[in-house]
Symmetry: C2
Subunit: 240 residues, 2 copies
DNA sequence: CGAGGGTTTGAAGTGCATCAAATAGTGTGG
DNA sequence: CCACACTATTTGATGCACTTCAAACCCTCG
């Protein structure tokens, strides 16, 4: 089993692949390093490959003619993207940009498509992943409509934290504050002010990209009151 | 073939079912009329059935403890909902409320689940539907972050209109203005003002729930400039 | 040390929400 | 067919949250 095959097995939807299927899907796979700013593909491009993040972070986004940008998602290592284009019109539904130096493996979409067509287990795994994603998007829309900026940020921090941990909690922001801001649908200035407000209202301590607090309780009280889900909400992509 | 089976064949993901599969899925199906305001299930309920809208409209939503409500979707006849709970934890991820007198058929989720597990074609159809939905949600998030209220409304109207039609266009709003407002993530007052603004800026004519315009052009110019997709955007659920 | 990006702070403007009240529209019972 | 009750919609006035623009600050790295 080659390196690429070993990696892709880490993705939840490929976990149960047998070696034959694995071989088919990873045929023609290729890995490469990309530095910050690299555009992997553009919204509307014809989709021929999907991508796996071996290390680093990738931003998925869409933008209008006049330059306004909407973040679709920001993915850490261990995730794939571009794979949904096997349905639809074989067109990427968003653009993808590397936001931290990243090692990315690309795979053939055609191989994936044909394997899914005959491998029911794989189709089921993918369905289940899609359902999870859908739930997450529903929650995202909810957050943007009923949480204000500080609450949204608080919620983001909570999902970065190890939620089972007791005692002092330490969080390291996974990427630029400016990028987190856009991920949360707000301006950098608003982000900064939201963080100050959280500091004042919940007693978190901020030191550059590191955030510390004695317990998650006050943050939960502050953010989760404006959310329809119960607290231990695991949905965000795990940080590193 | 009974009535319920005939109906469910209209749903895109069930279009290709053979009669055996159809029979399995519709076993135990039952149809009933519901009036406006009827709650079909609540976010968090254990999911045992999924629903098909034979006629009417159904609102999917989530709400926080303090009563704030976020609309997930508003579905017309011909659509199903609650079906994604076959993955996840068998919990409904939203609440469902009838917003116009509706005839609803409910089906067993267990039957659907077991049929999907062995029917690859069905799994693929469902995957494709999920991908379509996902694309739509991405767009929804984009709209809410980069379009303002009048633009969002304009975009909504465009998707209600027959986009191929030439000449005078006539649109009938499919449900309450208040409900459209919440569907678009704004207050009723804001909706009303957004409509006035559209009237002033694009020359549409409003008469109660009926809207008329000489062509879609000015609306397209007004709304689509703040969107990453090209104009003929077909994604919204068709009206009646 | 200086350049440049990321971050914060300040001041001002805008869009939407909110509160309040008027108006239009709809269904009901008489 | 009318008057009433009730709801949907509109309009006006005000406030707040977030954005925008501008400038300072900070940190890293050559």
């Amino acid at each position: 089993m080659d390196e690429n095959q070993k990696e892709i097995l880490k993705v939840s939807i490929f976990k149960h692949l047998d070696s034959g299927a694995l071989k088919k899907i990873s045929a023609g796979a290729s890995s490469s390093m990309h530095s910050k700013g690299k555009i992997l593909f553009i919204h509307g491009d014809e989709a021929q490959r999907f991508y796996f993040i071996k290390s680093g972070w990738v931003k998925l986004f869409r933008e209008t003619l006049d330059g306004a940008q909407a973040i679709v998602d920001i993915l850490p290592k261990g995730y794939i993207f571009g794979e949904t284009s096997i349905f639809e019109d074989s067109i990427y539904p968003y653009s993808a940009e590397v936001v931290e130096p990243s090692e990315i493996i690309s795979f053939s979409l055609k191989n994936l498509k044909s394997e899914i067509a005959e491998n029911n287990q794989l189709a089921l795994s993918m369905l289940s992943a899609m359902a999870r994603y859908r739930r997450q998007q529903d929650q995202e829309i909810e957050h943007r409509s009923i949480q204000n900026a500080p609450q949204r940020l608080g919620c983001f921090l909570l999902r970065l934290a190890n939620q089972d941990e007791v005692g002092v909690v330490k969080i390291h922001l996974p990427y630029d504050k400016t990028l987190i801001a856009s991920r949360l649908g707000m301006q950098p200035e608003t982000f900064s002010r939201a963080l100050s407000k959280l500091k004042a209202q919940t007693g978190i301590r901020v030191q550059g990209a590191t955030i510390e607090m004695d317990s998650l309780d006050s943050l939960v009280r502050y953010s989760c009151s404006a959310c329809s889900s119960e607290f231990p909400c695991k949905d965000l992509h795990a940080a590193e």
